[in-house]
Symmetry: C2
């Protein structure tokens, strides 16, 4: 007998009809005799409805009260899903985050899970009940309600799977798995059967929004096999786990991620002195601007050119700061460009294979796509190109690395 | 410095605009330097919305899950009201029933309060905060969410007032107090400044739905002065408390209640033997039919006529049971009438004044209103009449006892 954690997002439980559908799916999954813990989000639209009332009443809604308010969304879903299960003759019992004691810190609206008490869930499972838990929420040691922030229901599911030592955590969503790249850009994109935690983390941080980064990190840390699959269609989805045994041949490249919302800033001719990188990025960080890629080259004249990318929404703010810094640093010039995108190749296979980068650059060159920046990690190569090349670059690389073939 | 408990019903917090209005009212009440605990219901319409989803999913929604579902209604309101108060610079903190540990038994959907932990509320009040508590809900010793059933928010307010030893419990609603009778029937009906717990109980049980019976009982038991007043208009409402000092002259009659939804059943010619009343009412009680008035007369031929009234919705069910019982009991006949109403005079003053009943019957006789049944208690006289006489009977009695005059 295996133990599985299922998680259904807001779209999957968006109305009474869909909740019935989820109940059917759970019953089907339970037919094999396995134990099930189910984590659900708020019905889609509900969170927005609550947030808009809060915004009408307080300029900056109090985080503690916001958590009291928003946590009702999942609480409604757990009760409704249990009713649907019971109607089908399936014993089920609901719990809020506070009731199963998902203990968190007190960082309201972005709390972190500290501990989970599994006693009551284990007792229910032993009695043959399906345990339905509200995602996204927890409780502090003082009994205050907290929420985990965006994508928090995924984190709840993974944390429960880790605490219960579940065999697998299945994340049901509106896509049927992780793809080699976005099928809207490359119609020949292929669903991956398996992918490693590291690859998933890179894909997620590079713009593939199937799973929230935090839940993937959590799953990796506690070695919880994660499966992403659709709650609307059949299929096995994509399994995210640690690398398979060494004798299995790994694919060179798993997928291509991209990010449309980048902007690039360069400060040219900075005298090459220690501490300059900090002098540039310190004020940027203080302004709460998140920096993505950073590239620095030393020029022949003992000055350096320093380039970094930021989210396009923070481009103007970053440019203002850089312009003010120019004289202090004795730099020559500030240039910038908010018409760039980032395209990344991701794959654990590139660890043990040389030549992936050159193969990538050759493919882009054949299409005359100019590469403005390059950044690499052990399992990822990212390039910055002009936004007009995004689709062409993705398709070219998808083809060059034969990602449409299993 | 006094401590007050305010309670605002669903209509009073029905939308964001009204929640703002309640916040203004609380601020005004707090200007005098008093401490405030505020109990709120779900926004009007919210409970119905949730119930209808539950009914779509389960034929008889599970009581435990129903409580999980419905308790979200008040939880939304407490958060929104705290936001509105904080926006006005008033420190406020919200609590669900579980968080202030309104401990109840496990009778889901109709739980009874066993204990309240006031420690956290006292600490907040000492810090100058307004404490906002979700009405209608509690928690069992095992941590399961419970609700108190209809009118439960009133009960929460009274229970908190008792536990905190509050100076007064103010129930804000959509009427501005308790009236001598329903102003829609008798336009000269007058708002009462004061009324006793006993009178309020009789009025409530006789159809005056300003307050739920349970909350009045609770207030009487713990001697919590209750005030009913409007959240939409100014005014002092009606204070419900124990009798004033003996030297204050009590009004003979406080008010006239009536109940339109009655039906009458009679079983005629039952042999007058011990245990027959139980043989008749036992099966009625087993069918969960609530019996209101019961009247029994012994006839000259050693048989008895047994009459009782039930809610009109249960008339047919009760009639079926009686018809089946007739032969077993050796009774002669079953008669019934579902076109009756009950009209009651209520007043603690009638305890010490003879002749109220005869004055009542004389007034009705002058208008040729036939009395079908009579039932009396120490502070109440009820008569059953044909429904066509309801308005005439109420106005006649209102006039006969000069209730329009203070």
């Amino acid at each position: 007998m295996a133990l599985y954690v299922h998680k259904y997002g807001g779209t999957s439980v968006g109305n009474v009809e869909r909740i019935r559908h989820v109940a059917d799916r759970i019953l089907h999954a339970r037919d094999g005799g396995d134990q099930l813990v189910v984590v659900v989000s708020a019905m889609s639209g509900e969170t927005n409805r609550l947030v808009s009332m809060a915004n009408e009443l307080q300029d900056r809604p109090d985080p503690r009260e916001m958590d009291v308010l928003l946590s009702t969304g999942e609480q409604v879903t757990i009760a409704l899903l249990c009713m649907a299960l019971q109607q089908r003759g399936c014993p089920a019992c609901s719990y809020t985050g506070g009731q199963v004691r998902i203990l968190t810190d007190a960082a309201h609206t972005k709390a972190r899970i500290l501990d989970i008490d599994t006693e009551r869930m284990q007792a229910d499972l032993a009695q043959g009940r399906v345990v339905v838990v509200a995602g996204f929420q927890g409780v502090t040691g003082e009994g205050d309600i907290t929420t985990l922030g965006r994508g928090g229901s995924d984190t709840t599911a993974v944390a429960l799977a880790a605490a219960l030592k579940a065999d697998e955590c299945l994340i049901y969503t509106d896509v049927d798995g992780v793809y080699t790249t976005d099928p809207r850009v490359e119609p020949r994109a292929r669903r991956l059967d398996r992918i490693t935690f590291e690859e998933m983390l890179e894909l997620a941080s590079q713009g593939s929004r199937v799973l929230q980064i935090r839940s993937v990190e959590f799953a990796g840390k506690y070695n919880v096999p994660l499966r992403v699959l659709s709650s609307f269609t059949e299929g096995h989805g994509t399994l995210i786990s640690y690398e398979e045994e060494e004798n299995v041949e790994k694919p060179l490249i798993s997928g291509i991620a991209f990010n449309r919302d980048e902007a690039k800033l360069t400060i040219l001719g900075v005298p090459d002195r220690p501490g300059n990188a900090y002098k540039i990025l310190g004020p940027i960080a203080e302004a709460n601007i998140e920096v993505d890629m950073i590239v620095q080259n030393v020029a022949a004249d003992a000055t350096t050119d320093f380039t970094f990318t930021v989210h396009r929404a923070e481009y103007k703010k970053a440019l203002d700061i850089l312009s003010r810094l120019r004289d202090d640093l004795g730099a020559r010039e500030v240039t910038s460009d908010d018409t760039i995108v980032k395209v990344s190749l991701v794959g654990v296979g590139m660890r043990s294979h040389a030549g992936v980068a050159s193969q990538m650059f050759a493919a882009l060159a054949r299409e005359s796509i100019n590469i403005q920046m390059i950044s690499t990690s052990e399992i990822k190569i990212s390039v910055v190109v002009n936004e007009k090349y995004l689709e062409l670059a993705v398709r070219t690389l998808h083809d060059a690395f034969k990602l449409d073939q299993a």
